[in-house]
Amino acid sequence: MFYRENGQFKTTYRADQQIFPIAQDRWAVLLLIAAAYIVVPMLTSGYMYRAIFIPFLIMALAALGVNILVGYCGQISLGSGAFMAVGAYAAFNFFVRIPGMPLIPALILGGLCSSVFGILFGLPSLRVKGLYLAVATLAAQFFSDWMFLRIKWFTNDSTSGSVSVTGLQVFGMPIDSPLSKYLFCLTILVVLALLSKNLVRSAIGREWMAIRDMDVAAAVIGIRPMYAKLSAFAVSSFIVGVAGALWGFVYLSAWEPAAFSVDLSFKLLFMVIIGGMGSIMGSFFGAAFIVVLPIALNQFLPLLGSLAGIQVSTAVTSHAELIIFGALIVWFLIVEPHGLAKLWSIGKQKLRLWPFPH
């Protein structure tokens, strides 16, 4: 009744081509962003920021990057953790080694380094695809694990192997309270999400999708596979790299190479699959799901155990987390292989006809 495009006539190409052609969508997104900036800070406390909102924002950004590569260009990557690590360590080195380096350029430079790394390890994608590529990208993962553990230069010769950053500030405003961290991550996420939303509807985005759907056919109609694939690797690992830098700088503030292990790569891929491949919206759903699920389980399992009269130990909780996580993923893939974003679009479709379906 309320969600419909009836009566919204497009009289110019410009109006027809805008990001959200339906006015209700436009308003909903604007409201959502406004709520994220105004309502969330009014309602949440320090713990909620640290446990849920900040990791969600950063993971959503990373999932967005992975989604560009996996969902839009169809190149499976199990090395996203490595791209995050490169972004984090490169930004760290720029930030620490160059005196007076501002935070945002350091993040961008970190992302660019991650881009270069991504292109390098994206080269095999020109020859192999699918499962072979998935394993090939694992090479990036293990290489970066080793690189940041063994080559002391990258960690600024720290003896323990862990690095830390302090004194973050943007334009003179310190980023130290949970609220300022939240707003900082939110701003970067909004900017990059808008950027990638526009990118995937541009010529290059269509090239990526053509490559994803059938690369030989795409090459026949004049799309350069090398350019399309490597640009997808570059853009994706840039975003993932920035997310990695944020993860290190803002969320962890002190970290070691194990923070960006292969486990993180798997989690990012889960976010993309559960959220929905080839959907910007899906990255947010997936990140929310993966970030909130372990916390919810941690809260509910001991509660459930005490109801049943069993003392649930932390070891059992962590194992149960693995079990439920794994089972949920399989269940999800069986029930809705196209992810939460598909459910979302089905819901929107239904809403158009509601309450009078023919």
Partner: protein, 311 residues
Amino acid sequence: MTIASFLETLLGGLMVGMLYSLVALGFVLIYKASGVFNFAQGAMVLFAALAMARFAEWIPAWTGINNPVLANLAAFIVAGAIMFVVAWLIERLALRHLVNQEATTLLMATLGISYFLDGIGQTIFGSDIYKIDIGMPKDPIMAFENVFEGGILINKEDLYAALIAAVLVTLLSVFFQKTATGRALRAVADDHQAAQSIGIPLNRIWVIVWCVAGVVALVAGVIWGSKLGVQFSLTTVAMRALPVVILGGLTSVPGAILGGLIIGVGEKLSEVFLGPYVGGGIEIWFAYVLALIFLLFRPQGLFGEKIIDRV
């Protein structure tokens, strides 16, 4: 570096390689028959090893059997039966519903299964470090003492493990080539639809393949477990076997074996020759990079079926 120590490294690499190919075999078997790239193989190895280790403790306690050989044998049989059940459940509850999905969906599903198995295995069997003692001799032997000065040091345990692996591989090849079930398996691997149309029951074949992979995982788990101890890090063995599969080709059993040997030798030699210059610990990524470089020249792996693109 003398010839003797070079040969020693080479032999060590070959034996480790044999064990890698044992894990890689699990990947290849399932991929061949069902087109599923089974990431859960590592979790299956851990699960099987945990079951074996714990039942080897529990069975003497419950039944009073004090003969270690008998207890181990009973534990092996019980663990094998458990792997059968696991395989059947995986097929029944997960894979049957995912037929005809894209390869990536199946890959994710097996990742989910591996999380599930990791969790449930450690819940049931505990998450400490256990040991499997199947009485493999630990003492090294010297060989070729009259050929080289000082001889070559060979780890007896590795030698036995490699022998077991070789026997298992031979048995599997015979099973695949000579039995009716093996023929059906190969038919399914070739073409699902054609196999189904001549009356081969796909579901049963998949259960059989997962059972075989489960047994392979059990053997791999027992050998690796008695070498390294049964613990969570056993799952990383699967990660190290991945480049083997890539190198050898996803669809080729001989490829898995040869790939394993190449990776095993490459790892050991690189660690000895290259390691000191770059700070050591390069074993794990060296295998991947080796496989990667190889892929650039031969995308289908050593023995993989030629990849043909059709529009």
